[in-house]
Amino acid sequence: MNPSEAPSTVPPPRKARRIPGWAIGALGVAGAVVLLSTTSYLTGVPQLTSTGTIQTAVRLALPILLAALGGLWAERAGVVNIGLEGMMIMGTWGAAWAGYQWGPWAALVSAAVFGALGGLLHAIATVTFGVNHIVSGVAINLLGAGLTKYLSTLIFFPLSSNPRESPSVPKFDTYSASGLSDWLGSLEAQQRVGLSDVAGILRGLVTGVSPLTMLAIVLVVGSYLVLWRTRFGLRLRSCGENPVAAESLGVNVYRYKYAAVIASGALAGIGGAALVLNPGQPGYLEGQTNGRGFIGLAAMIFGNWRPGGLLGGAALFGYADGLQLRSGGKTFLALVYGAVLLLVVIVIWQLVRRRWFAAAFGILAAGLLYAVYYSVDEVPSELTTYAPHLVTLIVLAVASQRLRMPAADGVVYRRG
């Protein structure tokens, strides 16, 4: 055989990224703001960008963001963590238990510890014993729910005389950039196109900020720096891409996986604390997480296993949630209109790139959504709650070829 005909085993050179990641992020944020203010202008629904909506959105995005971050840590080390939900539930209980006695900071620490315990269990099962990751995750969800119910009947019941609820937990004080906030408020009140929308969004972000929000942002940035800019992170990620190669280079794969999954549990636990310490909630409530661990997982997938991406995913899901909670199904319909606008932009882009099939598909989808917008008065609240699930399914269906999860994600690795 002619050697030149042998199939090449050398991967094609990667195209250099022309635009750096932060610029894509900034473009995305700018695009989202433009889209929202245009929608708000065209539909005449100012609540889309009002301070209150954004504040609620931030509060609701926090647990999702933290769970997603937990998922990122585990999956980057190659361990699929379906147990996020269970670890989050344990976090809510831990937060309430320490919180009502010693205040919000203790709640945070305790939630992280309880979540980390769940993570430790997951690590023991998946890493040491090589149990299938999904199976272990499902078991941890069952166990987390059972354990918290048992403990709250045992400990909270005598205090709150309700086995499903903890005594109320003190919350964090919130901080506002007072001068800036007032100025933005007056700008928002003027109802100028575009400007007021930006002001409303910014004001929502700088008014009544809880230390928890700041902590979450620090954790996102910190996770990025640790995972992508340190030796430890490189090794951790190598365990998720090719554990055999990592081991051959002297990386203790088991230890890194343990560290990652325990960190994952701790982050999910803090996510649970974010629910308990939400000013709108008295404290621990049974069924409080309501599948948010799974939505966190969805946000992570939406964000393509990257910290910036999952921040976007959590923001989107939190925003949809906040809009629904704050101003109901009528306003949510404006978001459908926004989706139509977004699709129109995408269709034009596809036409420019001469991708006729994708464009035709986009036109069809946009037409369908517009028909929904035109014919319905408001989106039933039962359905809006599950918008994140639908969005994730659509993203998976449309972009699954472009998403890239760690190569050895979910693969049981055994040393030897």
């Binding site: 729910a145 059972g146 070829q401």
Partner: protein
């Protein structure tokens, strides 16, 4: 002997270990574990508990079968939870709005449920074969959507009607009911519990006596070998998922056609996830699943008696979770142990061959 040891020892160990763990938890929280277990055992004879356990076993058995079909080929249908819920709503709505002679009516409802469950499972199946979407993620998302769809469909301006402070679908007329076997004051065994048994037999025949079952197991043992043997992987995924969804659709049929005759807000949640645990404990074997379903139902129903001795009954849920986790660990440990033993044996034999 060795085979039996490998198959039976892990679940027994896991159950004992979990019981021990829960016993310790009870002691720590100041209760007497022996008394608690005693109360649970004696509860079987009380009131309708025995019949409740049988009914519940049937429901769990169907759910676990649905999961097991996927497990046979390493397909994780986490979506049984959503599939049975959607199927229940659709079947209840259809059953409540059509008029048919007795017998045929029930049959139509059951078929509707199976088709609805299969269609709900078709979405992740199609996404998997056409777009390569991982079924675990898509079925989790479908579970969420199922909750939303069910809540929407029983809304009072769609199909639901308000009764007291409960919302429910229109009641299925008498012709659609499936009679049970009454034990007087001890309750009534749902007629469709026998459907569960029938499904179990069908499952065994399919797995062990049909080409499809063989191909399914072959795909699970080694997908590459199966593909080399001419098994169409995509077709297998599609059929296995639809079958799994169809069976999942039947999960709530015994209850709806035997007792409730409607879908309402008190619809039980979490049976799909229990089904996963039960299928794991029973190792996808129809007999093993039956035993595991019985254990699950016993823990559920007898656990209610724990409140009488001031023990939170949620200890039972902890025990169930502990059983799942410890049983999979036990299987893995035994598998490794046997693998090592096998390697030693082969090594010894080769060694003797060399020496001779």
């Amino acid at each position: 002997m060795g085979m039996l040891r490998g198959k039976l020892l892990p679940p027994v160990l896991a159950i004992l270990f979990s019981a021990l763990l829960c016993g310790i938890a009870l002691v720590v929280s100041g209760a007497n574990p022996l008394r608690a277990f005693g109360v649970m055992l004696s509860q079987i004879g009380q009131g309708t508990t025995a019949v409740d356990i049988v009914n519940s076993t049937g429901t769990y058995y169907i759910a676990a079968l649905a999961v097991a079909i996927g497990f046979q080929m390493n397909l994780f249908n986490i979506g049984v939870e959503g599939q049975y819920r959607v199927a229940a709503v659709v079947a209840a709505v259809v059953g409540g709005s059509i008029v048919l002679p007795p017998g045929l009516h029930a049959l139509v409802i059951i078929l509707t449920a199976a088709v609805a469950g299969a269609l709900w499972a078709a979405v992740p199946a199609i996404l998997k074969v056409t777009r390569g979407v991982n079924e675990v993620i898509s079925t989790i998302m479908m579970n969420g959507l199922a909750l939303g769809l069910a809540a929407y469909l029983i809304g009072s301006d769609v199909f639901g009607e308000l009764r007291g402070n409960n919302i429910r679908t229109p009641e299925i007329p008498h012709s659609g009911w499936v009679p049970g076997i009454s034990f007087g004051s001890s309750g009534t065994v749902f007629g469709l519990v026998f459907l569960a048994a029938l499904l179990g037999i069908g499952y065994w025949v399919m797995m062990n006596r049909t080409r499809f079952g063989f191909e399914l197991r072959a795909s699970g043992e080694s997908s590459t070998a199966a593909a080399a043997g001419g098994v169409n992987a995509k077709k297998m995924v599609l059929i296995a998922m639809l079958l799994s969804g169809g069976i999942a659709g039947l999960v709530s049929m015994p209850e709806i056609l035997g007792r409730d005759h409607t879908y309402n807000l008190n619809f039980p949640a979490g049976i799909g996830f229990s089904g996963i645990a039960i299928a794991l404990l029973g190792r996808n074997h129809p007999g093993g699943i039956a035993f595991a379903a019985l254990l699950w139902a016993f823990l559920d129903k007898s656990g209610l008696a724990l409140d009488n001795v001031q023990v939170p009954r949620e200890i039972v849920t902890i025990m169930q979770g502990a059983i799942v986790l410890s049983v999979v660990v036990a299987y893995e440990v035994v598998r490794r142990f046997e693998l090592a033993a096998q390697q030693r044996q082969v090594g010894r034999q080769l060694g003797t061959v060399d020496a001779a």
